[in-house]
Amino acid sequence: MKSDIILAGVGGQGILTIATVIGYAAVESGLYLKQAEVHGMSQRGGNVQSHLRIADKEIFSDLIPDGGADLIVSVEPMEALRYLPYLSPQGWLITNTTPFKNIPNYPEIDKILAEINKQPRHIALDADAMAKAVGNVRGMNIVIAGAASVFIDIPFEKMEAGIGTIFARKGADVVEKNLAAFRAGRKQAEENR
């Protein structure tokens, strides 16, 4: 088993929380894991990515090779496309469709979505709206994590347990809301894969 995942977004959108949820479940399942993060200057409103590698044997490189990613998981549509060179020809692209516009020359969103629709294997979902619908306005990243979970060979219960543990100190209500966001994302991906 191996799952090489590029997590993409803009600094502050919560991609590291996605990594923590999946990573927790991977470690609990006795798998190897490597997770390269971006710290420092690039975090200030710039594009950020994390390389999350999970396998049942030793992982060497901290970076996923070009053309080697099984998944691109993005919380922002344009950022999903920025990392296409990493995606394997058999890989899936999972992305939020709500743009994060903090630059003056952000392309027309319709063109971005058209480019995403060209990808042979993709799941595009309005994770912002879905998070809101389950009463968790800040749970957009967890909706995306739920959608990605369909494509990762780790038991769903382990991931749910991960959410329970990670958000435990914020209280039972926050755990429930994040579980709802997670399940909503997963359901959407299952129905559209």
């Binding site: 190897y32 490597k34 993060e37 490189s61 070009d66 496309l81 392309p107 480019e115």
Partner: protein, 535 residues
């Protein structure tokens, strides 16, 4: 050995190892990608319980000196910094090779090839060799952990500082770490030779001669090191030397088959000569894989570059600059490219920017209005920090960013040459790191400069670490001799814009040293505090 595996960043693995190896203190100035080492110790309950020194230092030089002082007492210590920080600390670092140490002393330096968050991508191995000290370069996070223990043993065995060199990808990547049983801290035990640390020429000559003499022992240690390994391969057309993290990028290309070529994996320096010699003798040519500059490659080629056929960064098989990755190594091996689709043309760059609500935004608005719009070609010398982003649109407010503290001294030099106005922009933490001495230079000569000390009350760029300048800026400036009436304070908020502009104009009119201190807390640390209060 306990079998507990914990997920840690490379930086955190080093920090946990330092705690487990029984350090009594860690000394550092924040700098990406090294900051998380010290932060981890600061947040560690174990470190608090065993009273490990873990406060930030004013800069890397004071950090290395304090570390050396702790080592003097027989205790284990670590100094941490980013690569350019080692330049700041070069004086005590190089000389600590000559004094030697007493308690184990590790200098951990995190290089930043590809300049993710840096002004250059220098390779610290050159400075380690310059200092004639043994060096360790881990391949992965577990090795980083293990090398800390090995490094302290080496340091105490030869009474020598040891350089632990890592790079960004290892520092900021997480993996499962198997930890060891915690060792107790060392007892106070002063140096046997009371003059060991006295580098008077007569003593220094003797110690330097000794340092040169023990190089052969360092070499033997490297030959025998568990971190330097020969891996045999049947195909002798190429022999591969892979240093540190580059070994991973090699192995990544052989996950389903065995690497057919003989490999020497290097993790401890000086370069293990016998291992290299054997590889050179049995292979037609050598491929050198190293993260950073062509350190081993350059030495292997020598000046004449004719005895060994070497492929690497100097001959173009690998790029001469930037980071390595599995694909670059794959290409150097002559293997088929497996790259994915190109980036679609419509993707726009998304450069980092000052945060919404950042106090620097207000300062740059006021500065641009006065310097650019009133004086036209006024030049602004800036420094290292978030405010360096003022170089980018929409501000385009600054004309330099060179090294910690260079804003004030460059403004002074330009003013000496007749430039008016000559303005310096420096952050609060950068000012106490390396700006104060330059300000003293200007005060002594009453140089006509205006210095902005942007006080956001933290070391923001590296993640909001405590700033030595906090609450002290005004008294430091007047203490250095800046006239009290020309130390001007302002809260940089929209409402105060006119007042701010007025202050700048008045100080530009003053023919001497002026300091303007806009003070408003970093929006990120403020948010963190508010969140913590709510929780």
């Amino acid at each position: 050995m306990s079998n507990k595996k914990i997920m840690l960043l490379g930086d955190e693995a080093i920090a946990q190892a330092a705690i487990d190896a029984g350090i009594s203190g860690i000394y550092a100035y924040p700098g990406t990608p090294s900051s998380e080492i010290t932060e981890y110790v600061q947040h560690s309950q174990e470190a608090a319980d065993s009273n490990i020194h873990r406060q930030w230092s004013a800069n890397e030089k004071t950090a290395v000196e304090a570390s050396l002082g702790m080592s003097y007492t027989g205790k284990r210590t670590m100094a941490c910094m980013k690569h350019v920080g080692l330049n700041v600390a070069a004086d005590p670092f190089i000389n600590s090779g000559i004094t030697g140490v007493n308690g184990g002393f590790l200098v951990t330096v995190a290089d930043d090839p590809a300049m993710h968050s840096s002004q250059n991508e220098q390779d610290s191995r050159f400075l380690g060799k310059f200092a004639l000290v043994p060096m360790l370069e881990p391949t992965n996070q577990q090795e980083a952990y293990d090398m800390v223990f090995h490094g302290y043993e080496l340091s105490e065995k030869y009474k020598i500082p040891v350089l632990l060199r890592i790079t960004t990808r290892l520092a900021h990547s997480r993996a499962g770490i198997e930890t060891r049983e915690k060792l107790p801290q060392k007892e106070l035990n002063l140096p046997a030779d009371g003059r060991q640390f006295v580098l008077l020429p007569g003593i220094a000559r003797r110690r330097y001669a000794n340092l040169i003499k023990i190089q052969e022992k360092f070499l033997q240690e490297a030959e025998d090191s568990p971190f330097n390994r020969c891996i045999d391969g049947k195909n002798k057309s190429v022999g591969i030397i892979a240093c540190g993290i580059a070994f991973n990028y090699l192995m990544e290309n052989f996950t389903t088959s065995r690497c057919p070529y003989p490999v020497v994996k290097i993790g401890q320096y000086p370069v293990p000569k016998q291992k290299i010699e054997k590889l050179v003798n049995e292979c037609d040519e050598i491929l050198l894989l190293e993260e950073g500059m062509p350190f081993v490659e350059g030495y292997l080629r020598g000046i004449l570059d004719r005895d060994v056929k070497v492929k690497g960064r100097m001959s173009g098989e690998l790029p001469p600059d930037g980071e390595l990755n599995p694909n670059l190594v794959r290409a150097a091996l002559g293997m088929e490219d497996i790259g994915g689709a190109p980036i679609p043309d419509l993707i726009a760059p998304r450069p980092p920017a000052l945060c919404l609500g950042c106090s620097h935004i207000d300062t740059y608005h006021a500065l641009n209005e006065t310097v650019k719009d009133v004086f036209g070609d006024g030049h602004v010398f800036a420094d290292i920090g978030c405010y360096t982003l003022g170089a980018l649109p929409p501000f385009q407010a600054i004309n330099s960013c060179v090294d910690m503290g260079a804003s004030i001294t460059m403004a002074k030099g330009a003013a000496d040459a007749g430039l008016f106005p000559a303005v310096a922009v420096i952050g609060d933490s950068t000012f106490t790191h390396s700006g104060m001495t330059g300000l003293l230079d200007a005060v002594i000569e009453k140089t006509n400069i205006v210095v902005f000390i942007l006080d956001n009350s933290t070391t923001a760029m590296t993640g909001g670490q405590a700033s030595h300048a906090f609450g002290r800026l005004e008294s430091i400036c007047t203490g250095l001799g800046v006239e009290k009436e020309h130390v001007r304070l302002i809260n940089p908020i929209k409402k105060n814009h006119e007042k701010f502009v007025e202050i700048i104009k008045e100080e530009l009119d003053y023919k001497g040293v002026s300091v303007i201190i806009p003070t408003r807390e970093c929006i990120q640390t403020l948010r963190k505090k508010t969140k913590a209060r709510k929780a």
